[in-house]
């Protein structure tokens, strides 16, 4: 049976792991390669590396990091942050990334999704969305700093039509709160899309993961600080999920 995926996210700045709480106030949380290996041993199903500085100067550092990660681990990993061209994606996939995640660049130019999907295959194109509930769920860009006029429900359908392979949906209202995932918008997406949805933002305990899988039907769930600081341990989480009828890889 296909299992639900548990995905730790490593936010990267200058080759080091950091995690923002509500996207500011960064706290140091370890060496990315060491952390990645630890997560593989714990039973993480995939990893996401998000370059939160994503400047041209840092690109080379990121590529070197991706090469080191690819040599060190044998599970799939995604790299995101500042990706806006075919060349960016080519360099990251060649360095050993399995998937790339695009966000603001896809909002700015949605045809990027078609171009990347045609060139590299939709299976390696993850489209990330930062969303916040206003009159309805709206799309934000640039790490949640910039509001847009776009509605999330329309945007995810467009992403699917353009050949996006997966949606990484982060609720800014829930991120950093540890009060649980945004179940309503996650469920709307899984009910209305044929591509997998990764829920992100708000994980605080094991029950939150069971809810997002059992109620919102997420295909995968992503979290950062609760894993980095050991507040949730992946083997315990997976045992809990198994006991709550969520198929997991043990």
């Amino acid at each position: 049976m296909l299992t639900k995926r548990i995905i730790p996210c490593l936010d990267i700045k200058n080759g080091q792991t950091v995690k923002g709480v509500n996207f500011v106030n960064l706290i140091h949380a370890g060496d990315p390669v060491e952390l990645a290996q630890a997560y593989v041993l714990q039973g993480a199903d995939e990893l996401v590396f998000l370059d939160i500085t994503a400047t041209v100067e840092n690109r080379k550092t990121l590529i070197e990091l991706v090469e080191r990660v690819a040599a060190a681990i044998n599970i799939p990993f995604t790299v995101g942050g500042g990706i806006s061209t075919i060349q960016d994606v080519d360099a990251l996939l060649n360095a050993g990334a399995d998937k790339v995640s695009i966000n603001s660049s896809a909002v700015k130019d949605p045809s990027l999704i078609n171009n990347l999907s045609d060139r590299f295959g939709s299976q390696c194109i993850v489209v990330a969305i930062d969303t916040r509930k206003e009159d309805d769920w709206k799309v934000y860009t640039h790490g949640g700093r910039n509001a847009t006029a776009m509605y999330t429900k329309q945007w995810v359908k467009e992403i699917e039509e353009r050949g996006g392979g997966e949606i990484l949906l982060t609720s800014m209202d829930h991120d950093g709160t540890k009060n649980g995932f945004a179940l309503d918008i996650t469920k709307w997406c899984t009910d209305n899309l044929s591509i997998p949805v990764i829920a992100s933002g708000g994980a605080g305990n094991n029950a939150h993961f069971a809810d997002v899988f059992n109620f919102a039907n997420a295909d995968a769930a992503l979290a950062a600080s609760v894993f980095h600081f050991g507040e949730i341990k992946i083997p315990d989480l997976k045992m809990y999920l198994k006991d709550h009828n969520v198929p997991v890889r043990l």
Binding site: N74, I75, G96, G121, G165, E166, S194, P196, D219, A220
Partner: protein, 197 residues
């Protein structure tokens, strides 16, 4: 051992190279027909589109080279699909090593996503490729197309319905999953290919 990984337009060879190097094997990455023909073993990885890739293989004459290989040969993911007779992806005739068709998964329900993306388990394991791999071991899949279970099936997996997770005929082996991304179980399967096949 002279192990060749075939490099072509749909190959993401990096992860395979890393897995081999963890097993102490320095592979040659090439699309050169002579080097492929002279290898002790050949790995044919693949991520991409069946029709576009078949066209490329034909242009490079690699289709004939692959069909005539007599050494142990392992196709991965798209590699397995290309070794079958025909693929619905672009309605294209493939290499025909396995006399089966490759079909697209059909889901009537948005809760069953296509592609299948993630970890699923194997059963009915039947080949030295799976020596010391327990039934129900988890491996990593990313695919929208599959082959039905048939006489060449050496591992089965369920998604919507049972399908061939691995195939074997004579010296030709193939996996629909990505052993190079399947943690310790995947690494063991590649080690078995190197040592036992």
């Amino acid at each position: 051992m002279n192990l060749v990984v075939i490099k072509y337009n749909a190959g993401n060879t990096k992860s395979v190279e890393h897995t081999l190097s963890r097993l102490g094997v320095q592979a040659v990455i090439t699309d050169d027909a002579e080097q492929i023909q002279n290898a002790d073993k050949v790995i044919f990885p693949g991520v991409g589109h069946a029709e576009a890739t078949m066209k490329y293989l034909k242009e490079k004459n690699l289709d004939k080279v692959i069909k005539n290989i007599t050494q142990p040969f392992l196709g991965i993911c798209l590699g397995q699909q290309l070794m079958c007779a025909h693929s619905e992806e672009g309605d294209v005739d493939c290499l025909g090593i396995f006399p089966v068709k490759v079909k697209k998964f059909k889901s009537a329900d948005n809760h069953i996503k296509i592609p299948q993306m993630g970890w699923n388990n194997l059963y009915d394991l039947k080949s030295p490729l799976f020596k010391n791999i327990p039934d129900l071991s988890f491996v990593y899949f990313v695919h929208s197309y599959y082959s039905e279970v048939n006489e060449n099936t050496i591992a089965t997996c369920d998604y919507i319905h049972p399908f061939s997770a691995a195939l074997q005929k004579d010296n030709f082996y193939a996996t629909q999953f990505h052993p190079e991304k399947s943690a310790d179980a995947g690494q063991k399967i590649i080690q078995n290919f190197i040592e036992l096949c």
